[in-house]
Every structure is written in structure tokens, then in C-alpha cells.
């Protein structure tokens, strides 16, 4: 049988530091193939038979965890699911002990979500097993960025030269950081916009601005981030009405972007906060595609990270 070699992939997905454009595009092509699997009546392939994959979510998230677990099951892996909240003391040890205990039970790969940045990197060192980062603190959420890129390409074609605006609490957003890392790899430019107290001082891969109009001006797509109420409790944001008045994406403001520019949101959405409720249901919203594509993308990630010798 003839074979086309894919570029070799790192045996983990922590962020995109050691990924290049070719690898990303190859993975997105695989995700496209996975979409076909998901269109069948029997949504299963035996590629990961015999693998045991553990989802270890120290920060609660039902959607992402289910998305990963389904992806792993569809590849015929066995899935073990651990959800826990962190204890307030000595978090590092708790993570390590939990993971080491699980590891005694014969886990082949870990899908990890934590409130602290860097735990997946530590886990990779403690366990020497493939680790897929499902979100570590504010730092990175690579599979989200991949499914965002995949969804954007579905709609816009190549992302070369496209302007993507990300709006919201950039400072605390791993979605923003991962997209700012990934989208430029595919040739896009990223503008990140939010209130001054919710913007980092700098962000590689993105231009930062507090001016919504400037950010949306001729954008090819707009990614809207979820606003967390606790930002007001921490004194960083005055109030919801203030945020809505200045940064809510409305029909009118979306008009500042290119006509037909699609809307993305990593979910879950606060209707009528970061986004006008009616826009969420409009044909410009690709939110449902994002969720569906999350499956295909995560299956592709599992394939490329787990299959084959390291």
C-alpha cells in the first residue's frame, strides 16, 4: 500500500510552541477526514483500540470534557474520567499525586484541564506520557484554537491575510492566547480588544486595542469571549451595563466588520452580555459549527498525538 507521510507531530499538545504551519494544516486536514466519520451512522473507527485515555479535569467543564471523551470513544479508546476541584492548599502536590495514582492504573494518555498555567507541562515531565492540554489557567487552550481555525477555514477558506478580531476579557483568556499563537501560523492577523483593565500589556501574535471600532474595522471574523462576573468582584470591571455599552457586539457594531463576517464564541455564552442575543442565533453565528467541529478536531488531535511511535 502506498503511503503519504504526514509531518511528524510532537507527542503532546500543550500549546503551539513546537508546532509549525505544515503540522497545523496537516492536522486540520485530518480533522476534515474525521468529519466524514462523524457523518456516518456508526461514528466509530478502531484507530485507538486498546488505548486508555484519561480526562483529568481539575477545573470543571462539562462541554469540553464530553467533547474529548466522545472523541476518544469514537476512536475506540477506553476512557477514564476524573473531575475534581483543587484543594486550596498545596495545589502542585495534589495534581501530581492524583496523576501518579491514576498512572498506576495503566493510562496511555492524559487530557488535562487545570486552573493553574503550566500543569500540563509538569504532568508531561512527571508521567512521561502524552498529555493533551484542555486548558491550563489563563495560558493556553490549543484544541479550542484548532477548532476555531477549522471553523473559520470552513467559512472563509484560507486564513492567509485575514484579520480576526477577538473581543472581551483578553487578560484572563486562554482562548485568546491560543488563538493569538495559532492564527498567525496560518497567515492571519489577530487584533485583541477589551477594556483597558482586561488587556495584557502585550501579547505576542496580536495587536492590542481598547477601541472596539478599530478592532472590528474590516475584520474578516469576530471572536467574542465570555465575560465572567467575577471580574467585577475583583474590581477590574465597573459593571455589566458599562461593559455592554462599550464592548457588546451588536448588529450595528458587527457592521464595522466586513459584510457577512462570521461570529465565533468559545461558549458558554452570556446572551445579551458580550453578544446581542439575536446575533447568537443569526446565520452569521458559527457557534454550533464550532461545537460540532470540536469533535472532529479532537479526534484528529488524538490521532496525531497518540498513534505511531514517538
Amino acid at each position: 500500500m502506498s503511503e503519504t507521510a504526514t509531518p511528524s507531530f510532537p507527542k503532546h499538545l500543550l500549546d503551539f510552541r513546537d508546532w509549525n504551519r505544515r503540522q497545523v494544516e496537516s492536522l486540520l486536514e485530518t480533522a476534515q477526514m474525521m468529519q466524514e466519520v462523524l457523518a456516518r451512522p456508526v461514528k466509530k473507527v478502531p484507530a485507538l483500540t486498546g488505548f486508555t485515555v484519561a480526562t483529568v479535569f481539575f477545573e470543571p467543564s462539562t462541554r469540553t470534557r464530553i467533547s474529548f471523551e466522545l472523541a476518544a470513544r469514537r476512536m475506540s479508546a477506553d476512557v477514564v474520567s476524573f473531575s475534581g476541584t483543587t484543594s486550596s492548599t498545596v495545589k502542585g502536590e495534589t495534581y501530581r499525586d492524583t496523576l501518579r495514582t491514576l498512572d498506576q492504573m495503566g493510562i496511555d494518555a492524559y487530557i488535562l484541564r487545570t486552573d493553574a498555567a503550566g500543569v500540563p507541562h509538569q504532568a508531561h515531565r512527571w508521567l512521561r506520557k502524552p498529555v493533551i492540554n484542555a486548558g491550563d489557567g489563563w495560558r493556553a487552550h490549543p484544541t479550542q484554537a484548532l477548532l476555531d481555525a477549522f471553523t473559520l477555514r470552513e467559512k472563509l477558506g484560507s486564513l492567509e491575510g485575514k484579520k480576526i478580531a477577538i473581543v472581551g476579557d483578553i487578560l484572563h483568556s486562554r482562548v485568546a492566547r491560543s488563538n493569538a499563537e495559532l492564527l498567525p501560523l496560518l497567515g492571519a492577523t489577530v487584533v485583541a480588544c477589551g477594556p483597558a483593565t482586561l488587556l495584557p500589556g502585550s501579547l505576542p501574535g496580536a495587536t492590542l486595542t481598547t477601541h472596539l471600532r478599530e478592532a472590528l474595522h474590516e475584520a474578516d471574523a469576530v471572536m467574542v469571549l465570555r465575560l465572567q462576573k467575577e471580574r467585577m468582584e475583583k474590581g477590574l470591571l465597573p459593571s455589566l451595563p458599562e461593559y455592554i455599552a462599550a464592548y457588546q457586539i451588536t448588529h450595528e457594531r458587527l457592521g464595522w466588520a466586513r459584510p457577512g463576517a462570521p461570529l465565533l464564541h468559545p461558549g458558554p455564552m452570556n446572551r445579551d452580555v458580550e453578544l446581542e442575543g439575536t446575533l447568537a442565533d443569526s446565520p452569521q453565528s458559527l457557534v454550533e459549527r464550532q461545537v460540532a467541529n470540536g469533535q472532529a478536531v479532537r479526534m484528529a488531535v488524538l490521532y496525531h498525538v497518540l498513534v505511531g511511535k514517538s
Binding site: 500500500m1 502506498s2 503511503e3 503519504t4 507521510a5 504526514t6 511528524s8 507531530f9 496537516s26 486536514e29 485530518t30 477526514m33 474525521m34 466524514e36 466519520v37 456516518r40 451512522p41 456508526v42 466509530k44 473507527v45 478502531p46 484507530a47 486498546g50 476512536m75 484528529a300 490521532y303 496525531h304 498513534v307 505511531g308 511511535k309
Partner: protein, 181 residues
């Protein structure tokens, strides 16, 4: 790899395909519920040829699909790089159909086994046949082809390369030797 010899030339390939097409029609007693599914990569061009030939002989164009078996391979953990997952597209209902799986070379039988699993995940055909241009022996599984273009005994150090007009610019079956280290 070193080229050893050309086992089948253009005409021989053409004749082999013509004969396979006739045999399929004969075995199936016509083209009723017949369809072809080509296995990536060369199986696809060969399946297309067979569809054209069946149309030429029986006047009916039967449906065709393409199948990628990468996700069904049993050796995924042993290979180095991940093979590229390519497109699977079977744009018709497999239920009740007589499917002819088409591949270029039958060797260990593992590809065919994977193709069977992949196909069955797509639907429930009433019959599955296997058609190959070359059977080179060295089966590792109890698999046999229903339609064979040519039986060619080979040694394990040899590689059989099928070339098609569509993919390689010429129709041929070549024998190559893996270089001794």
C-alpha cells in the same frame, strides 16, 4: 530500492482489467445492485476503470465510492510517522448492495481486512467481493481475492509497484528490490 523488472505492461494491465470486469459481471449475474469501492490510492483509479468497463459492456454506470483504511489499520502503534488520513466517500446507501472492493495489490491481507471493517462501518452490503490487479502471495490472514488480474509470486524483499495512467502517467506493474543494507 532498485528496479528489477516490468511484470505487466500497458496492454497487459488493460487486458487484465477487461477480464476482471467481465468476471464481475458474470459472478454478479449482471449489474443489479453492483457497486465498486476503491481503496486509496491506486485502488481508486482501478475502480474507476472497472466502472467505465462495466458501463461499456452492460450499458449501465454503477455507483462508485472511495475508501481510506488508515483508521482501521492494525499496525498504527508500530509505524513511525502517522499515515495521512485521506478521504472516505461513499455517496450511496450500501444496504443490499454487492460491493466490489478494489485494490492494486493483495499481499498480507491486512489492508483488505481493514477495508472490510471500514466498509461494514459504513453500512450493510449484501455481498462484498475483493478485486485486485496483482496477488503477490505471503498472506498473513485468511483472506482471498474473488477477482485477480495476475498472480505473481514474489519474495518478501521485493516490492510490487502498480502504476496507473491517472496517478503515474502510465499503466504498468513493476517489481523492485529493497536494497540490502
Amino acid at each position: 530500492m532498485i528496479f528489477k523488472s516490468k511484470l505487466l505492461n500497458e496492454d497487459e494491465v488493460r487486458r487484465a482489467l477487461t477480464r476482471i470486469a467481465h468476471e464481475v459481471i458474470e459472478k454478479n449475474k449482471g449489474v443489479d445492485r453492483l457497486c465498486f469501492v476503491g481503496i486509496h490510492t491506486r485502488g481508486i483509479s482501478l475502480a474507476k476503470r472497472l466502472v467505465d468497463l462495466v458501463e461499456k459492456f452492460e450499458g449501465k454506470r454503477v455507483p462508485m465510492g472511495i475508501l481510506d483504511i488508515t483508521l482501521y489499520r492494525d499496525d498504527l502503534s508500530e509505524i513511525g510517522l502517522q499515515p495521512k488520513v485521506r478521504e472516505t466517500r461513499i455517496p450511496f446507501d450500501l444496504g443490499g448492495k454487492a460491493v466490489v472492493l478494489v485494490d492494486d495489490v493483495l499481499y498480507t491481507g491486512r489492508t483488505a481486512r481493514a477495508a472490510l471493517d471500514a466498509l461494514i462501518d459504513q453500512g450493510r452490503p449484501s455481498r462484498i467481493y475483493l478485486a485486485v490487479l496483482v496477488d503477490r502471495g505471503h498472506r498473513e490472514l485468511p483472506i482471498r481475492a474473488d477477482f485477480v488480474g495476475k498472480n505473481l509470486p514474489t519474495s518478501k524483499s521485493e516490492v510490487v509497484k502498480v502504476k496507473t495512467l491517472e496517478d503515474d502517467g502510465e499503466d504498468a506493474v513493476e517489481l523492485w528490490e529493497v536494497e540490502a543494507s
